[in-house]
């Protein structure tokens, strides 16, 4: 039932053409990132920059997907699927599906046209992991700025883009190490220490993303 609801939400999202907005921005950002072909042995640095900055695109896509349905449809879907938990899970599952596709583009396109050669497999794997971390962060940010939580676009759009800017700025400070350490991804990748540092960088990212999603689910209890 949850899978059927994910399919329904994805169908509504793609038919609404809302996907085009974050997709265009993603392509534009990739064109800027890889305007000059990066050396293959510097792929980790390029991937880290890409993952860090694409968080806002993943968040935008997640918010757009969750906002596609009219409010009453969410209530109908909750009843049909057998409870709010399934509807919320399906919404986040659909966000994960869309953003995994966008992240795949961000990893694969540079392999085809963005690098001067084929990067080492370990760097490609790091690129995949960093983009998955960015997807998790983006979904949490997008969900928390979606319409059930923030009904007014005047509040939700600044919350999404301001939230991303705040994450980025805070990650420059010492506190950033225990929040979402976006700048530290980039530095570690450029310093060549990403392989060793990745677990420490991934842990706070995943914990905060999970905390964001739990907060979203709790808030949805009175905001169907």
């Amino acid at each position: 039932m949850t899978v059927a609801l994910i399919r329904f939400k994805l169908a509504a999202y793609t038919r609404s053409h809302r996907l085009l907005q974050p997709l265009f921005v993603l392509v534009l950002m990739l064109m800027i990132f890889y305007a000059v072909r990066a050396p293959a042995d510097d792929a980790a640095g390029s991937y880290a920059n890409s993952a860090g900055l694409l968080i806002v695109v993943f968040a935008w896509a997640a918010r757009g997907l969750l906002d596609t349905e009219p409010d009453a449809q969410r209530v109908v879907s909750m009843a049909a699927a057998g409870g709010p938990r399934r509807e919320i899970t399906a919404g986040l599952g659909a966000c994960a599906a869309v953003n995994t596709g966008l992240a795949a583009l961000a990893v694969v396109v540079p392999l085809l046209i963005g690098f001067q050669g084929v990067p080492p497999a370990a760097m490609i794997a790091q690129g995949v992991l960093l983009h998955l971390l960015a997807v998790a962060t983006g979904i949490a940010l997008g969900a928390l700025s979606s319409r059930p939580i923030m009904p007014s676009p005047a509040a939700s759009m600044p919350a999404l883009f301001g939230g991303f800017a705040a994450l980025l700025l805070v990650s420059y400070t010492p506190v950033g190490a225990v929040l979402i350490p976006i700048m530290r991804w980039m530095r570690a990748a450029n310093d060549g220490t990403l392989g060793a540092d990745l677990p420490l960088l991934a842990l706070p990212t995943l914990l905060w993303s999970a905390a964001g999603l739990v907060a979203y689910a709790l808030l949805r209890r009175t905001r169907p």
């Binding site: 349905e69 009843a79 057998g82």
Partner: protein
């Protein structure tokens, strides 16, 4: 299904919408929920549907299948009526929508995009999706279901409500139009000032039954009129097949 001291408010410091609501609902009951605008009827219906969780208290014994038809169907969705109903059937794990679209007069409009349907027709799509699946072990929640429906669909919907109740389902209807007055075994609940109080009952202890009658087409109108005059709900439709021979000889009420 039992509500035990159910209270609800939307925010921690917000006003209570409902307080200490106790209610026992038996299978086969039809509940008619009334109350002025803003009294909390829709919140009450959403609590019953399990869409909202009580702030305090508990709701237990909710039937496995819940159908919810909102007061205004969300027609702004990029599907045809048929594609939407097929998707909702898949979400429920059932196939097709049986004769529901036919009965409510929706069949000719199934290929239309939801956004192009009239308000009444879109409302029928909302009703059909709520009714998908078998009637047994069902909780059917209809928020102002008769508003905007044509006369035939109103009569048909009242019949469907009676059928769901007859199959042991629970039906909760928020109704300003009084279209349920012919449904016996209904209980009226009034939502006001954070309380839900039981009002006048129709004939609460009287169970419902569906009696199928096959008659010559020329005699159908007269027969229907006589049965309506006796206070029954009647629906006339073309016979698709003769009733099984065995059914006619059984002792049961199937005639």
């Amino acid at each position: 299904m039992r509500l035990s001291t159910v209270s609800f408010r939307y925010t921690r410091r917000g006003p209570w919408i409902l307080r200490d609501v106790d209610l026992d609902v038996q299978p086969g009951e039809v509940l008619e929920v009334t109350g002025r605008n803003g009294a909390g009827k829709s919140t009450f219906l959403r609590l019953l549907a399990g869409v909202l969780r009580p702030t305090a208290g508990s709701i237990t014994g909710r039937p496995a299948r819940v159908g919810y038809a909102p007061e205004t169907f969300p027609a702004g969705q990029p599907f045809t009526a048929a594609a939407y109903l097929a998707a909702m059937a898949r979400v429920r794990g059932v196939s097709g929508h049986g004769d529901l679209a036919d009965r409510l007069g929706l069949t000719p409009l199934l290929d239309r995009p939801l956004g192009e349907l009239s308000k009444g027709s879109a409302h029928k799509v909302g009703l059909v999706q709520a009714l998908l699946g078998p009637a047994e072990d069902r909780l059917l929640i209809l928020d102002e279901p008769f508003a905007g429906l044509d006369e035939r669909a109103r009569g048909e919907l009242a019949m469907i409500v009676a059928e769901v109740a007859a199959a042991g389902g629970v039906v909760v209807v928020s109704d300003h139009q009084g279209d349920l007055r012919e449904v016996t075994a209904r209980r009226t609940l009034t939502v006001a000032d954070t309380m839900v109080t039981a009002g006048a009952a129709g004939e609460p202890e009287e169970p419902l039954a569906v009696v199928e009658v096959v008659a010559a087409a020329s005699a159908a109108a007269g027969l229907a009129a006589r049965l309506r005059a006796d206070g029954h709900q009647v629906r006339v439709r073309p016979a698709t097949a003769a009733l099984p021979e065995a059914a006619e000889t059984k002792e049961g009420p199937r005639v």
